[in-house]
Amino acid sequence: MAAPNVRTSSFSRNISVVSSSPQIPGLKCGPNGTTFISTGIRDLDRILGGGYPLGSLVMVMEDPEAPHHMDLLRTFMSQGLVNNQPLLYASPSKDPRGFLGTLPNPGSSKEDKPTAPDLDQGESLRIAWQYRKYMENQKSSIDDYSNDFDMRKPLERQFLAGRPIDCVSLLDSSDLSVAEDHCATFLSKFPRLCIISFLFDGHLLLFKLVNSSNIASIGRIAIQSFCSPLCEYSDKESEMLSFIRLLKSMLMVSNAVAIVTFPPSMLSPSSSTRLQHMADTLLSIKAIPDGDKELEKLLTGYKDINGFLNVHKVARINTQVPVILEAKTFSMSLKKRRFLALECLNQAPVDGSSGTSYGTSGSCSGSSKSGALDF
């Protein structure tokens, strides 16, 4: 960092050097100086433009009728453990450690068929130069950034043993102070911004916030079912809102990502909207009705779809330009009954004027069938 030297001009410009390849595996450089970590699902990484950016808050709106938010949490936590990133997990159950037993294992590489010929063969094939980079990309189905998780196999012991995993139960605390303390101590291990102060002619003190160019380690926080009716604090909405605000402010100065799932129908509409606004990345899960003949006609692959994932907001840090996605609704299914896949829906044209407001897809009331396709 710039040390205060004796100079003719006390004003020195500090150009932060962005390293092209980060030192630690599991990170990817993104636009505008952000760094991404993998979500655990390759399709979701692609949809979000790389993954979750460091320092962002991801909120997932649950559907009380579908358990798919657990899959999002599981892949997120497993990815962190595979990449050796410390984890903090909080849930409203008596024994949160038990959840770690349900985490999926990365799918074995032997089963992946190589989709492109080896590079050695490519030498003899005389591929035009601009196509080489596509060949290389195709080859790296196994890389250290993200993994394809086999939802059926439990995570191997080597990833669980000896890793710093902190589990907190949200059940017994009547307020959120326990959770706040855990988050604060956890996030203090991953500081991102350091404050440099230097003198200006001996009179003024200039403070400068500088990005630490060496990212020492990354943390992941997963909070499940934050507003669950089982928790005692669930009727204290202002406390819940201030907890999330605190978490978000701590995240902004840390090299960590937090994912919080909550059922929006458990809150009053105004609190639910406020929580949604606080999110940097906002996703929601919607259950799919079973045995619905209309949907079967409208969607291809209806039988394999387990639920819908809507992407409402994608995090944009250090820029004002929003991300406009081609499609906001994806179907969640299990490929080969093991690997989570998110696909765009193939369906007949629907009324383009049905706008998405964040909260509508979170409703759990038995509304009419056209409500299921509210996107």
């Binding site: 579908a66 059922p263 387990n306 044209p349 038995g366």
Partner: protein, 375 residues
């Protein structure tokens, strides 16, 4: 179908899983949750007695009706409860929920009174939980045999305790190894939507009763509305939502009809629903894909500008100039600056005004214009 709920409750859950739980929701306009509970009670009791059910006993916790009401009802259905019955226990929270009466009144001797345990102090939910489990264990012993629990009405529970405690109690019951299934009823008009949502969150099945004609919403202006409500009071729709394991939701509907003997279910008979279903299959676009009846008739009437129509005579079509054979001056003279175009007017009878491409063209010139080329 109400039968499918009964079967789900009868079969209970698998080992290691939480017990299936049903919420029966009623409103002021269709206050028949009691009838539904009695229906389920009768069916469960007969299946327990016949040995067809996974559970071997039933604990009934009564809040809104006295135990003798239920025993009477079961007697009506042909199920006799005596003091030596080993399959049912009743926890009486109706007579004295808050413990105001010190001594039980001597005149009250009911059949099977040894089965009925008076429970005071409803607000202490931990004690209630242990009494329920104790009553169950009295019936089935301590081992692996299971029993079902029926809670008369959760409204009274919510009156005395807060939502997190009540959901805690219900979830504890669900997770107890010896409880095979559980159901309760709720009047949704008495509580905020959050409460209803929270109870739906912790249950696996939700049944709600909807009257045929919509409730007046406080606008009691039309007398005829009242008459309709009165006429259709005992009838309505019964909707069920099941949460399936994969994350899908099964929705079923039936019609119900309440009379002296209880509640009867029948499949939906109205034709309107079928039409509504097909209508929603058509994609909602901004243009009109369907023709109304009037539009269809008009379409038939339109005379197309072809000279050879199918009906055997050649049609005279006004073509912008006066033919030699035609001396009438029927149409208004058109200005010569008129563009050569086909205009479909949308007036009555659907006129088509046709202008020929060129004046040289003879009428009915189907010949190939290249025929006069001599090559």
């Amino acid at each position: 179908m109400a039968d499918s709920i009964f079967r789900k409750l009868r079969d209970g859950g698998e080992e290691g899983e939480l017990a299936p739980a049903l919420t029966i929701e009623e409103t002021v306009a269709s206050p028949f949750a009691l009838d539904v509970s009695c229906y389920l009670l009768a069916n469960l009791s007969s299946s327990i007695l016949a040995g067809k059910s996974k559970s071997e006993g039933l604990v009934l916790v009564t809040f809104s009706r006295s135990p003798s009401f239920y025993l009477q009802f079961l007697k009506q259905k042909g199920i006799f409860v005596s003091s030596s019955s080993k399959w049912i226990r009743v926890l009486d929270c109706y007579t004295d929920p808050l413990g105001w009466i010190d001594q039980p009144s001597p005149g009250v001797i009911t059949e099977g009174s040894s089965l009925i345990k008076l429970h005071k102090c409803v607000s202490d939910l931990k004690r209630l939980f242990s009494s329920i489990i104790e009553a169950g264990r009295e019936m089935v012993g301590d081992g692996k045999t299971r029993f079902s629990v029926a809670i008369d009405s959760v409204n009274e529970l919510l009156r005395h305790s807060s939502m997190p405690l009540v959901s805690g109690l219900l979830t504890d019951l669900r997770s107890h190894a010896q409880v095979s299934s559980l159901f309760w009823s709720l009047n949704t008009d008495l509580h905020q939507e959050k409460v209803t949502n929270a109870l739906e969150y912790i249950s696996t099945m939700k049944a709600n009763l909807e009257p045929f004609c919509p409730s007046s919403d406080g606008k009691r202006n039309a007398l005829e509305n009242l008459f309709l409500v009165h006429q259709d009071f005992g009838k309505g729709r019964f909707h069920i939502r099941f949460k399936l394991r994969k994350g899908r939701v099964r929705v079923m509907s039936e019609e119900y009809h309440v009379d002296q003997t209880g509640i009867n279910f029948s499949p939906i008979s109205s034709v309107e629903t079928i039409i509504a279903a097909t209508k929603s299959l058509i994609p909602k676009v901004h243009f009109n894909l369907q023709l109304s009846e009037k539009e269809r008739v008009e379409k038939e009437k339109v005379v197309l500008p072809f000279e050879h129509q199918d009906h055997g005579k050649s049609t005279e079509i006004y073509d912008g100039r006066r033919t030699l054979a035609d001396g009438k001056t029927e149409a208004t003279p058109l200005s010569s600056g008129e563009l050569q175009a086909d205009v479909v007017s949308s007036g009555k009878g659907g006129e088509i005004i046709y202008f020929r491409d060129s004046d040289d063209e003879h009428p009915d010139s189907d010949e190939d214009p290249d025929d006069d080329l001599d090559i």
